[in-house]
């Protein structure tokens, strides 16, 4: 009897676990359904108009001195005012914290007038002293230079002679002084920080700022919450709250948009965009992207000390071969088949959305799709076919190019297959080397060609700087800022010239000459400009500013225009049907719970009766 008793206890525990678990689960369904029907409208919560943006990228840090990721820097744009901003119409620099800026005659001193109507959210005035302190801290503290040190690398001295006057002295002329994408932080808050490498700015809320929004809460990989800054000098945002909510899976984010749990989703695949196009109250925004998608050719890896390294194929040093290869790339097919129409055909280096710097080759210069011409060009270059129909290199071996591709990037693999077909017809083999992380062979120069792509800023200085000789690594063992080891003296001369040119139109002309040079040398072949495909709910967002305004993108703009300008849709809409169904299901769930409990007690009774036997 005693033994029976012990067995009975264990059996009951197991049964209890099973039933309690099931009941808890069902109970949750029952409880949440009739009382808290799932939100069908994001703006309905607490009567507040909430703009919820689905994001996937984790915040690396909320300290402007440390963070580099797009999600973080986009949030800084909302929290802090920068010296300048970019016009949503055409990306030219417009006032931010500074109302105007002008260089000295010798081009080495820039004077900024700081606005007198920007307040920190704790009520103190934002002044030139805050800006000077921010820059000086980055210049003197290596930890504070982590994220944006490159912006102050050419600064000699920064001072604030008055609350509305900021003076920056340079070591050498720099045309990008109206594009200093550095969040200006409040000195009175940040001067208390001891170690900038350890301060994450994510423990105490609200965070003091002077941008259009104030950061009020953050949970890593869950959400970032911001409220409007009612005293923002340009005017307060219209939504009551802005939430960046995490969706690590794109399809789940799309589901959230369909349901209305989020107001906006970006980074859509063609299939997702197609599915959302038929969805009621959802608008798909297929905007020109800020990114180019290219095929980079190894020009023979070189270090600044003159040492050559890597093992790029010798034939690629022949300009005719590079031209022939790109002549055999059907860019229309890349756009139509690989990007399924969500891209523009590649031409020059800078995407067309940056109209001031966009350049495209003239008819005589353009490399058009011409496989027969490509074959002729290869013959001319001395790379003829052997008896097996394979083109052979100078060493007599059939040519097979190793093409580095990103395993996580589906277009790379798809274009790679096309390259195998197109170049195969020329008698050239292609060996795709797809990796999660391509940096090892890339940095070692151990590749022939590689899929490449960069996002371009309104001021394109950076994407040009990575092709200068100055960006090469110091020695083969070092890592330089170079993209793919291009070092071309003519190009470098143009680069230096544009950096010292303060006239915007003149500078744009020089930039276009650089693009032309880059195109002709054939080391960077732009195949496409992928679009930024995103979608938002029209029953939550009535209007929102795009960048460029006419047909631009919403997420990741250079500025705070989209979220600052967004206006909520008028309240209304109907989710009654689903709520009624929800109540029905809630009742059913309640019945299931009761039945479960009944069955549980019945089993207990039976167990007791058995023990009595």
């Amino acid at each position: 009897m005693d033994t029976h008793g012990r067995y009975g206890t264990r059996g009951t525990v197991l049964r209890l676990l099973a039933v309690a678990g099931t009941a808890a689960l069902t109970l949750t369904v029952g409880l949440v359904t009739p009382l808290n029907p799932a939100p069908q409208r994001a703006e309905a919560k607490d009567g507040k108009q909430v703009l919820t943006v689905a994001v996937a990228q984790s915040v690396d840090s909320l300290s402007p001195f440390l963070a580099a990721r797009l999600v973080s820097t986009s949030i800084f744009r909302l929290m802090y005012e920068y010296l300048t901003n970019y016009d949503p119409k055409d990306d030219h620099a417009v006032p931010g914290l500074a109302t105007k800026w002008e260089p000295s005659a010798d081009k080495l001193t820039w004077t900024y007038t700081i606005r007198d109507n920007s307040e920190w959210s704790d009520g103190r005035q934002a002044t030139a002293e805050d800006a000077a302190w921010t820059f000086n801290t980055m210049m003197t503290d290596q930890g504070a230079a982590t994220a944006n040190g490159n912006f102050v690398a050419n600064f000699e001295k920064v001072t604030a002679p008055s609350p509305t006057k900021l003076v920056i002295e340079l070591k050498k002329p720099q045309a990008t002084m109206a594009a200093l994408d550095v969040p200006i932080v409040p000195k009175h808050v940040w001067e208390k920080v001891d170690d900038f490498t350890k301060f994450g700015n994510d423990k105490s809320f609200p965070v003091v700022g002077n941008g259009p929004f104030i950061l009020t809460d953050y949970q890593a990989d869950s959400y970032v919450r911001l409220k409007p800054n009612k005293s923002f000098w340009r005017g307060a945002p219209k939504f009551d709250e802005l939430v960046f909510k995490y969706y690590k899976d794109g399809d789940a984010a799309v589901a959230a948009l369909q349901k209305g749990e989020v107001s906006f989703v970006s980074g859509l695949t063609p299939a997702q965009a197609a599915a959302l196009k038929t969805q009621e109250h959802v608008t798909v925004n297929d905007a020109p992207g800020r990114r180019f998608y290219a095929l980079a050719t190894n020009p023979g890896a070189l270090a600044k000390n003159g040492k050559k390294f890597g093992d790029g194929h010798e034939s690629l040093l022949n300009q005719k071969v590079r031209r022939a290869l790109f002549m055999a790339v059907d860019r229309e097919t890349v756009v139509d088949k690989v990007f399924q129409g969500y891209a523009k055909e590649g031409e020059g280096y800078i995407p067309p959305r940056f109209s001031s710097y966009f350049w495209k080759p003239a008819d005589g210069q353009k490399i058009s799709y011409d496989p027969a011409g490509a074959a002729r060009l290869l013959d001319e270059a001395g790379y003829k076919k052997n008896g097996d129909g394979k083109r052979v290199g100078k060493d007599g071996e059939p040519i097979t190019y190793r093409v580095l591709c990103h395993a996580t990037d589906p277009p790379d693999k798809a274009v790679g297959k096309y390259l195998q077909e197109w170049w195969g017809k020329l008698g050239i083999g292609v060996s795709l080397d797809c990796r999660d992380n391509v940096s090892d062979p890339w940095l070692a120069g151990e590749y022939d060609l590689a899929f490449d792509g960069w996002s371009v800023n309104p001021d394109p200085d950076f994407v040009f700087s990575i092709h200068t000789c100055a960006a090469l690594p110091a020695t083969p063992k070092d890592v330089g800022a170079t993209d793919n080891f291009i070092c071309d003296k003519k190009y470098d001369a143009l680069y230096d010239q544009q950096l010292a040119e303060y006239d915007a139109a003149e500078r744009a002309e020089i930039v276009k000459r650089m693009e032309s040079r880059l195109y002709d040398t054939g080391y960077m072949n732009v195949m496409a400009y992928p679009n930024a495909v995103e979608a938002y709910r029209t029953d939550q967002i009535a209007s929102i500013t795009k960048m460029p305004e006419t047909a631009g993108n919403i997420y990741g703009q250079d500025g705070y225009w989209s979220w600052w300008s967004a206006t909520p849709a008028a309240a209304g809409g109907s989710s009654d049907d689903s709520n009624q169904t929800g109540v029905v299901i809630g009742i059913v769930a309640g019945v299931v719970v009761l039945a479960g409990l009944g069955a549980f007690f019945a089993m207990r009774r039976r167990a007791t009766a058995e023990d009595r036997e």
């Binding site: 067995y7 869950s222 789940a252 940095l443 110091a474 330089g480 299901i585």
Partner: protein, 361 residues
């Protein structure tokens, strides 16, 4: 007689006459209480020592293993930004990547022994903080699922075995195998589409992702998290319970022909009681092994389910750490995952002799 004929996990330990392998009992063997008193501490010491050695091996392995991952962490972190060669050098110095490997290793070991797993390259926060932030989230998800799928697996497994070959068995086993073979991310996505967004007459009942809505407090917060927990737990339970079911079923089938069950029936006990009180306790040992293995795994999280449901747990963190590679974070996580399995296995080793005296002799 009753005690002899109805051996149980508890009964065996205190009952030398219980069912055991022939010849297992000797006058000086460790079956008796006296034998166990001397053998068990030695056994425990052996197991604990083994676990300590394993942990040390993991500590060393985690350092060298992840240095084989291709990729330069500094280049990855600065990718897409304009950085000077001086800045790159400063990064390397800050992370200690400029030091010789052996020096990095001694530094890592020294700090690890004091509980400092270093600072994450990408998040600039101590690894211990990142792990302790995400660990409760993972434990909530995997722990809840673990309890449910173990209970359901054992419950259905015993019934399937008891009615071996019957319709219930075939249905149960078939369903369990089907769900077991379904990719968890696919099932998760399907549940989101059907039960979060709503399909046909089914309304959207649950959130599409995340662990909380934010801004809730007190009981409302608990309800909110429970609301978010339902679908990921259902997904995990659905794909995991089959394993427990099959192991339990197979173990119970092995016991089905045993004499003590015939004796129990002969005693006049109802079939249900024979199963619950006599057969199941003896069949539970293989299941217990699985339970402890699964318990160790709960810490490692479930990358796919965490990703589909945007659950901020360790699985997702591990993926992010690997893609950089964020060496301190990936080492720290690997160490914690491995340590959890080692601790659970050691715990299982320590408990087995209490459940079955044949173990640990």
């Amino acid at each position: 007689m009753t005690a002899e004929a109805t051996p149980s996990l508890v009964g065996k330990t205190g009952d030398p006459a219980g069912a055991g392998p022939p010849g297992a009992r000797g006058p000086r063997g460790s079956w008796g209480p006296r034998g166990r008193r001397t053998a068990y501490p030695r056994y425990v010491a052996g197991k604990l020592g083994g676990a300590a050695v394993s942990l040390l091996a993991v500590l060393v392995t985690s350092f060298f293993l992840f240095r084989l991952i291709p990729g330069d962490p500094v280049k990855f972190m600065t990718g897409g930004r304009q950085v000077s060669a001086e800045q790159l050098a400063a990064y390397r110095e800050e992370f200690g990547l400029d030091l010789p490997l052996w020096e990095q290793f001694t530094d890592y070991c020294g700090k690890a022994l004091t509980g400092d797993l270093g600072t994450s390259y990408q998040f600039r926060t101590p690894v211990v903080d990142k792990i302790s932030d995400a660990l409760p989230n993972t434990l909530l998800l995997t722990g809840t699922s673990f309890v449910l799928y173990t209970a359901i697996g054992v419950f259905l497994g015993t019934r399937a075995a008891w009615r071996n070959g019957g319709l219930g068995d075939r249905l149960n086993t078939g369903l369990a195998l089907t769900l077991y073979s379904i990719p968890s991310f696919w099932l998760g996505l399907l549940l989101i589409i059907v039960f979060s967004v709503g399909a046909g007459p089914i309304p959207g009942l649950f959130p599409t992702g995340g662990m909380e809505s934010g801004g809730e407090e007190g009981f409302a917060y608990v309800l909110d998290v429970a609301h978010h927990l339902v679908l990921p737990v259902v997904t995990l339970v659905a794909v995991e319970y089959g394993q427990t079911l099959l192991v339990t079923r197979s173990a119970l089938l092995d016991e089905m022909g045993s004499d003590y069950l015939t004796t129990a029936r002969a005693k006049g006990l109802r079939d249900d009681l024979v199963r619950r009180r006599h057969a199941v306790p003896n069949a539970l040992l293989p299941t217990m092994t699985l339970v402890f293995i699964n318990l160790g795994r709960t810490v490692a999280g479930v990358i796919l389910v965490e990703t589909v449901f945007s659950w901020p747990g360790l699985g997702g963190l591990f993926y992010q750490a690997l893609s950089v590679p964020d060496l301190p974070l990936v080492q720290g996580l690997f160490f914690v995952f491995a340590a959890a399995v080692i601790v659970m296995n050691t715990l299982a080793d320590l408990i087995y002799p209490l459940l079955d005296p044949r173990v640990g002799r």
